[in-house]
Amino acid sequence: MSALITSSRISGAEIVKELAFFAVIALLMSVMILGVETVDRPTGLELAVRWDLVITAIISTIIGRLALIIRREHISRIGQAVLITVAAVAVFEMFVRFREMDDRWASPVFIDMAFGSVTSIVLAIAFIAIVFAIAYFSMKKVAAEEEESGSNLSAKIQLAYRTNTKKIGALGIVFFIIFPFLFGENRSAIDLATLVMIYIMLGWGLNIVVGLAGLLDLGYVAFYAVGAYSYALLSQHFDLSFWLCLPLAGIFAASFGIILGFPVLRLRGDYLAIVTLGFGEIIRVVLINWYDLTGGPDGISSIERPSFFGLAEFDRRLPEGVMGFNELFGLDYSTMHRLIFLYYLILVLALVTAFVTVRLRKLPIGRAWEALREDEIACRSLGINPTNTKLSAFAIGAMFGGFAGAFFATRQGFISPESFTFLESAVILAIVVLGGMGSQIGVVLAAIVMIGFPEMFRELAEYRMLIFGAGMVAIMLWRPRGLLSFRDPTILLNMSKKEKVAGEVK
């Protein structure tokens, strides 16, 4: 094998050595956490052994490393084909293994085959030969394309995306507006769309703080919680309507943002992150323990639903003199009316967030946020007050979080501290980061992928956070500023936007 690969800077023996090293690492990392399961029994914990998982981990590591070696070293075509064939055999091995889960101690299939009948030996050789041939002949193309069109293609996509962001945004808005007309009868579709929209709004809100001002806020969920609890409490204790509470919730959340932000915004990036995380946790602990006010872990239930702008109600049975929504518009009663109304409500709230963000970015305050993200010292030398500027980003982000919280409370009708854990902050942050810091459309895509898909593929729900975490790492490694993080200038003098973008892409 080594003779086949010796074309470039790395010899076959070195490759084998490298692979063996990482195989051992994978073995050591997985041998206990994956290889042994602790099982609860009435008598205490017991062990169950899962060697198949360890083997899978090792094989995946080897394949991953191989791929890396192929990319890193400019290995000859034959060498690459050999490596790919080895990987393919390993993958095949794994698939067979998964299908024969009951037989965990089986020896590798290829060894079985080699000692089996002539037919099986022929089959095995044929398999290897075919894979090798495909790998070998496709390799030339790939190598050639990677130089030319590989980067070119992504440049074309980037150019198309960046010159048409407005159109793409408009199309998206139209889609979300007509969504209830397409799926109006499907309750779960509307529910899901509403949920996704809440996260889009939260993502856009946090985007102001993280994407524009460059402040890593790990406690964003605190403002969401403040919004939700302010509405729930105001409506329960003072009987205020949703329409009055909505701005109040935003104001409360923003004030919280200012109170929390004032002492800590002087801190450097990562300190700020950990302090905001701390604040998020403090608020949650207080919500759990301040039983008299918040109901503790039980939360607050039967929170009032919003009326149709105070003109009509959505309930089926109404007291005398109260207009029903269906009466107002001369429709038959349907429980969907309220849900669709709520969907439009969050859509409008989210769009307001987006509109304000886009507008603010082109105003002095937005430019100052971005300048601050780039260089705080330079900002100070230009007379920009860093604390106030950061504070404004923090407060505005918090305000939108508060709006979203109030909406969440009224839609669910029930809130408890469980909805406001650190994980929630991490999810919102992941949406912003994966989408591309500062990118509005990126947030929408990330929210759909991260909230929508797991809800659709429930069987994967268990792996959702695992994939989140891995995705966050992978995207940072691949594109440290997020997937769609292209910065468009806020003002241009000589060029059109298209020219500017074209100049950057190339």
Partner: protein, 307 residues
């Protein structure tokens, strides 16, 4: 004032503080050398706890759990080695490629790693709390008062002594060996250290490995001390240990230990005399106050802003 009660809180606080201190050293060393918060360090500690638990169960299945010293040594050794590899792997995968990239990227990658590891353990080992029978039982009654006996358990002695020994070993390692010298050189100026022939990558990897090994010890001690662990213990312990590192002065080894002890004491006394529910709030409160009024901590040096 009930002195017996006070003394008991003091003992409990010191024990807890020793554990926090061990984790805090990992934060402080990593921060010192690459200037970032290793957000996944709490998860490393959690993995240490799981490794020691599983090692114990294997010993039990193999029938050697009767020989207590052997079992304890095996638990210590296996969890330190295997957890170190996780520490090494985390640096290799999530941080090294982002060294020199912009700050937030590495931090976000660290958070992603933390979420990943937490869920990895949750899925592979189950979300339920894992119980563990007490291995080291009994203790010394230090003081008898009419309504309260002050207990110093053998477990607490083991924790405090082991922590002390490890502290001495690691301080010597950093003060006296060439590895420690390389580490301190990288802290000062990574580029220059590299130019002078220090293998910077390896030094940073070693730092992660050392931090993870200490966190593994902390994880094992928590498993033995409290007798329950789950996949989520890393989060809170991580934040508290980080607070300890900041309180002591990030980058300073004795500072981390001092901060750990202080946080442990504050938590024990807060729970003992005030409301136990708000003990976490107390820790976070301290973190915020320290960062606002003395961001360089008790034993750290203030940083002069480079313009």
């Amino acid at each position: 004032m009930d002195w017996a009660y006070f003394l008991q809180q003091l003992i409990n606080g010191l024990t807890l503080g020793a554990i926090y201190g061990l984790i805090a050293i990992g934060y402080t060393m990593v921060y010192g050398i690459i200037g970032m918060i290793n957000f996944a360090h709490g998860e490393i500690y959690m993995l240490g706890a799981f490794h020691s638990l599983i090692t114990f169960l294997i010993c039990q299945a193999a029938g050697i759990s009767g020989i207590l010293p052997l079992t304890l040594l095996l638990m210590l050794f296996v969890s330190m080695v295997l957890t170190s590899i996780y520490g090494w792997g985390v640096e290799r995968i999530a941080y090294r490629p982002l060294r020199g990239s912009f700050r937030l990227a590495a931090l976000i990658s660290a958070i992603g790693m933390s979420i990943f590891l937490q869920n990895f353990v949750q899925i592979s080992q189950g979300a339920r709390v894992k119980p563990m029978q007490p291995l080291i039982e009994g203790g010394i009654t230090l003081m008898e008062s009419p309504n309260f006996n002050v207990q110093l358990s053998y477990m607490q002695i083991v924790i405090i002594v082991l922590t002390f020994v490890l502290m001495v070993v690691f301080s010597t390692l950093i003060a006296k060996t060439s590895l420690g010298r390389a580490q301190r050189a990288c802290e000062q100026d990574r580029t220059m250290a590299g130019l002078l022939g220090v293998n910077v990558d390896r030094t940073i990897s070693t730092t992660f490995v050392m931090g993870a090994a200490l966190a593994a010890v902390a994880g094992m001690m928590v498993t033995l001390y409290y007798g329950v662990i789950d996949f989520y213990i890393g989060f809170l312990a991580g934040v508290k240990a980080f607070t300890a590192a900041v309180l002591g002065g990030i980058g300073s080894l004795p500072g981390a230990m001092l901060g750990g002890l202080l946080i442990g004491l504050i938590e024990a006394f807060w729970s003992g005399y005030l409301t136990i529910e708000y003990k976490d709030v107390a820790t976070f409160g301290i973190l915020v106050l320290v960062l606002i009024f003395r961001p360089w901590g008790l034993l750290g040096k203030p940083e002069v802003e480079k313009v």
